[in-house]
Amino acid sequence: MYSFEPNEEQQMLVDAVGKYAANDLRPAAHEAEESRELPKKLIGKGWEIGLLQASTPEAYGGFGERSAVTGALAVEEMAFGDLAGAYAVMTPSLFATPILLAGSEEQKKQYLPEVVGGDWRPYTAALIEFAFDFDANALRTSATLDGGEYVLNGEKAYVPFAKGAEAILVYANLDGQTQGFIVPKDAAGLTVSEEREKLLGLNALPLYRVKLDGVKVPVSNRLGGEAGHDFEPILASMRVASASAALGVARASLEYATNYAKERQAFGVKIAQKQAVAFMLAEMATEIEAIRLLTWEAAWKLDTGKADAATEAYLAATGAADMAMMVTDRGVQVLGGHGYIREHPVEMFMRNGRGFAMLTGLAIV
């Protein structure tokens, strides 16, 4: 059957996340972006909603089953509040969800209860590299097997909360395949940059460069154990998350611009009563809805194990990157000069909106 409405459980989760996004994340977003800092309490409160906990089975310390569709709904809602805050709250998922999806039984038992069991703690993952043609399926960071250990060499970029992280799931190129390796915080040869990344947007999110200089991890630290894992579903889940986050940011921009246009007076009417403005809003809404359905479908295909799930996730993420740019650009345009002033959030939405084209790997459903 076709069906386009969240179930009761999903709706409850969306409502809970939505409340947090509107009442906590959004009011803090401007200050966080300007000061480049997210209050710990704010992150903790988001963590307590229990997104990751709810997608981790009881056997590993959680209380539910992972669903990409539910994840997509939650990520959109969270990112609607604030992208940096959303990514921060969900950073431990970058470490835990791949283990849940592809980890060995031993890894699940060892790490998951620890991650989901207590307060929010910085468990993270490193995928992105600082190259214009960065390709998650052709990483420059290498892994080589040497006497019963994997040796990792290379440099990772945009790694959230790398400084002080309990452990980092590092993706590296092993014989042409992208594989994950669990790197503990005290591994020799692992260096986290002093300086944080300075970016076009996402300034509240602490992102770091991570150097791996002959870092050695035991074979058992390879994601999935000795046999390794298939990277495709992990990347697809990241793409669905990226698309969902893009939807949240775009929706935030549309909502703000819509409200503004209904207030702002010009030539004797509200500017929303002018077709030139109204049409922009209509197109933004249409674009968002189109990509949302594509994203939901990709998520549903992941959940149901359809053969073309990965391609669909790719299409959704690709479409979402364009959608987010288009929508957030127009969000600024609707506000005119005021849109360019940082007191209004639309310019931040626009700067954050550009990131979806290159920042897959900062969230996962």
Binding site: F4, D133, T258, L294, G319
Partner: protein, 419 residues
């Protein structure tokens, strides 16, 4: 409720059957009927009528009251979903042919949406009978396109005979010829004529009337020559003192201060816009598949999954086109799913039409561009699809009119607040 994208079994079966029809009954003669405008592909018409009858009552392409068999597991209704899938596949074959698939079409849809149960029984039964039969919608006039409140056609009640007397000129009537003119191969059809019963009342005075084929005073005065969809006739119809029985009015015969009558017309559009969108997406999918096929023949493979800056320009275009076509189709599905589940869908319906209009024109235009001299040649059907596609962004409300509907919906504005 839940979020799910599994095509219902009846939809999948229907698609399989209709793909065969499209491949065998439509594509091979597509070119012929494009080049011989106003000739009628009788073999397709007769085949479709017989096939639809044998498949389930043969009510043409109208959403069926979908009653699960006794004892069968209860499932939500899928009438509009099935219809959208049928239309998409037929349009994938040839959208002009799809438009002349026998049945009630937009005229039947108007009766379905705005008629009483008695009127439905009286006017819609004919589509299941022996001969293929048509109905059409007469809304547009030379001076009234999307602005339907500017309709000049008048209907006056002659109390002595209890008949409505209709006068006016209608244009752009899709299927007007086959619905009104007598053909020995066809059953007796009708046209649904929009007219004002009180010109001082504006939209509140607007009503639809069922005018039977052959009614005296009514004449098809012209068949248009068009850019595309040439297998489908587009008629101009004049009504001079045309008399129809009192009970052929759809909706209330008296004018209140409300715009219920007009809203009846608009409700029809909520139901039909996603279906028109579906027909456009069929054309777009045909163009996209043809493009990929030709590229593959020439050794060009699309490398999904690569970062965009590693893709060739052609790959980027094809991937963008796929995103467009897939997402536009999902918007149609959501709109018709809402219709099936009796959820108000004015917003989703118009959104799906906006998107389909954009996507269908862009995708066909890009496909012609990418294939260069092959794309422009009449040796292939692609150039025809380019011409056929354009109508998607025009009929059943232009892209602009639908943007207006979408904007009013999201802004919570009335027609007077956002003109």
């Amino acid at each position: 409720m839940t979020i799910e994208f599994e095509a219902p079994k009846p939809v999948v079966q229907m698609q399989t059957v209709l793909q065969t029809v499209a491949e065998n009954m439509m594509r091979p003669v597509s070119r012929e009927f494009d080049e011989n405008e106003h000739s009628i592909p009788w073999s397709y018409i007769e085949f479709m009528h017989t096939a639809m009858k044998s498949m389930g009552g043969g009510n043409g392409l109208t959403p069926r009251e979908d009653k699960p068999k006794e004892g069968a597991e209860k499932r939500p209704p899928i009438g509009y979903q099935l219809l959208a899938a049928q239309i998409e596949m037929l349009a994938w074959g040839d959208v002009g042919f799809y438009l002349i698939t026998p049945g009630g079409g937009l005229g039947g849809a108007a009766v379905q949406a705005a008629g009483t149960p008695e009127q439905r029984a009286k006017f819609l039964a004919r589509f299941a009978e022996e001969k293929p039969t048509y109905a059409a919608m007469c809304m547009t006039e030379a001076g009234a396109g999307s602005d339907t409140s500017a309709i000049r056609t008048k209907a006056v009640l002659d109390e002595s005979t209890n008949e409505w007397v209709i006068n006016g000129e209608k244009i752009f009537v899709t299927g007007g010829d086959k619905s009104f003119n007598a053909y020995e191969q066809l059953g007796k059809g009708f046209i649904v004529v929009w007219a004002s019963i009180d010109p001082t009342a504006g939209r509140a005075g607007m009503r639809a009337f069922v005018v039977e084929s052959g009614t005296p005073g009514v004449k098809v005065t012209k068949l248009e020559h068009k850019m595309g969809i040439r297998a489908s006739d587009t008629a101009a119809i004049s009504l001079v003192d045309a008399r129809v029985p009192f009970d052929h009015i759809l909706g209330s015969p008296t004018v209140e201060k409300t715009t219920t009558g007009f809203k009846g017309a608009m409700a029809t559009f909520d139901a039909t816009r996603p279906l028109v969108a579906a027909s456009g997406i069929g054309v777009a999918r045909a163009a996209l598949e043809f493009l990929k096929e030709k590229l593959a023949e020439n050794g060009v493979q699309i490398r999904y999954g690569l970062p965009r800056n590693k893709l060739t320009s052609v790959e980027r275009d094809v991937i963008d086109m796929e995103i467009m076509v897939k997402s536009a189709w999902l918007m149609v599905l959501k709109a018709v799913w809402m219709a099936d589940n009796k959820k108000p869908n004015a917003l989703e319906s118009s959104m799906s039409k906006v998107r389909a209009g954009d996507v269908t024109t862009k995708v066909t235009q890009k496909a012609v561009e990418i294939l260069g001299p092959l794309g422009y040649s009449r040796e292939f059907l692609l150039e025809k699809w380019f011409r056929d596609a354009k109508i998607t962004d025009i009929y059943e409300g232009t892209g602009q009119i639908n943007r207006l509907v979408v904007a009013r919906q999201i802004l919570g504005y009335s027609g007077s607040e956002l003109r």
